[in-house]
């Protein structure tokens, strides 16, 4: 895993006259799990969309190392994204979905890679012809993670990854995030769940009305009470 920094430099995003992000400057490092928290409409998903390269900022830039990710098209290959929705084709099986993405990313030795990835996310025993439509929500989320990790990206982005998971699924996801952090991957997740953020993160960003209201890193991680205090203080009217 290459050690790279992701730098958000004075990013603004307007939708018509509405300002979704205002002068956002942030830095994320490899081996960090960052949780972006904030109330509804704070701009969290917009920021994640910009980080994923799917949304262009109105002004400002995002740099991965020294390259602007919106100018360098190959930057997309460094990003894995897991959203609310699993981003897989429901009529294809887990294998067929991963085979398609392995081909799109030109992954060498794809079959071995797919088998290993399915085993890792706990879908190794699923019938090879079962369409993803028949999967439970938890299984779909596991398949989504397998798809996002398949091309070994430097950056992993998650949008409310645990919103539809049961407690076992949430625990599994937290373990996976920890594993990715230890592997040196740069992980960013958007969440409403402050306890989940405290459980997995060592970097917390609080957004409020499109601006950064708090940006704190603690290498040893946060206690849930610390995150709650940080969040409440950041959202207090100033």
């Amino acid at each position: 895993m290459s050690q790279r920094h992701l730098r958000v430099a004075r990013v603004c995003k307007n939708f018509g006259r509405q300002r979704a992000l205002v002068d956002v400057t942030l830095q994320f490092a490899s081996g960090e799990v960052t949780s972006i928290v904030g109330p509804n409409g704070a701009g969290k998903t917009t920021l994640l969309g910009i980080l994923s390269t799917l949304v262009r900022p109105t002004t400002g830039e995002i740099f991965l190392g020294e390259e602007s990710i919106h100018k360098d098209r190959t930057a997309r290959q460094s990003i894995g994204y897991v959203g609310h929705e699993p981003g897989v084709y429901p009529d294809l099986s887990a294998q067929q979905n991963l085979r398609l993405f392995a081909a799109l990313y030109a992954i060498p030795d794809a079959e071995a890679c797919i088998a290993g990835m399915l085993e890792r996310v706990g879908l190794g025993g699923v019938h090879h012809d079962l369409p993803a439509r028949a999967f439970s929500r938890g299984m779909l989320q596991r398949l989504a993670l397998a798809r996002a990790l398949l091309h070994n990206p430097d950056i992993l982005l998650f949008d409310e990854p645990s919103s539809a998971l049961d407690p076992v699924g949430v625990r599994w996801l937290a373990d996976e995030l920890d594993r990715e952090r230890k592997a040196g991957r740069l992980v960013i997740l958007v969440t409403h769940d402050l306890d989940a953020a405290a459980q997995v993160s060592n970097h917390i960003v609080v957004l409020r009305r499109g601006r950064v209201a708090a940006d704190t890193t603690k290498p040893d991680g946060f206690a849930p009470a610390e995150v709650r205090t940080l969040y409440e203080e950041a959202l207090r009217d100033r």
Partner: protein
């Protein structure tokens, strides 16, 4: 356009056709709708007596049914990208947006052409059209007409991916744009269906017209697909 561009294009087209091969829902819906349209027209026009109008009517029915069933194909092929937000995964992959467009175009056109073969046979039987007199010409006209229709349709369908009443909007936006394609295709087909036609000069003219329209529409599609699909 490099070899990898075409690899991405074929991967995306292959994926759509594989999904259809598993579910067959688009083909069955299109085939059923096509048969229904042709049957309704054949009953409605059963007492038409002017034999000179026969080829024109048959060509009109063929292309009206194609328009109708093509809209079903367009709507469903892009709808599959909306389910589970798979379009996001596709857009995040290294595949160029233009390759995604061409892949979708190839898959949609392939599905339409399969149904058009059934349509042509039905029209031949029910309207006594000379479907098999010039099979190569007819195949060329069907191919070019289908590409012209699908090239615009994929762009509009992608633009309406997140719209609430996209099925209604798709027809309203797409049909006026594809009028030149439909006019040319139905004129060429009417000439081909006419066993008394003195020569194929008009077919040649309308085929060249279709080819030019396709080049323009596909070029525009390749150009506008990226901003359309990104919602910018």
């Amino acid at each position: 356009m490099t070899a990898s561009f075409w690899r991405y294009t074929l991967l995306i087209a292959g994926k759509d056709l594989r999904i259809e091969g598993r579910s067959r829902e688009v083909l069955y819906t299109m085939g059923f709708s096509a048969a229904l349209v042709v049957l309704v027209f054949s009953f409605a026009l059963a007492n038409a007596t002017d034999p000179a109008q026969g080829p024109i009517t048959a060509a009109g029915v063929l292309w009206a049914a194609t328009l109708f069933t093509g809209t079903v194909a367009l709507s469903r092929v892009l709808d599959r990208e909306r389910e589970n937000e798979s379009i996001r995964s596709l857009l995040l992959s290294p595949a160029p947006r233009a390759a995604i467009y061409l892949g979708k175009l190839i898959a949609t056109a392939a599905l339409m052409l399969v149904v058009e073969v059934l349509l042509a046979v039905l029209v031949g039987v029910l309207f006594s059209a000379a479907v098999f007199t010039h099979p190569i010409w007819l195949a060329t006209v069907l191919l070019l007409g289908t590409l012209g229709f699908a090239s615009c349709g994929v762009v509009f369908s992608a633009a309406l991916l997140r719209a609430r009443s996209r099925d209604a909007l798709l027809g309203a936006l797409l049909f006026p744009i594809v009028i030149p394609v439909l006019l040319a295709a139905s004129r060429a087909t009417a000439c081909l269906f006419d066993p008394l036609a003195p020569d194929l000069d008009p077919v040649g003219f309308w085929t060249r017209f279709l080819l030019a329209t396709d080049v323009i529409y596909i070029s525009l599609g390749l150009w506008v697909f990226e901003p359309v699909v990104a919602g910018e």
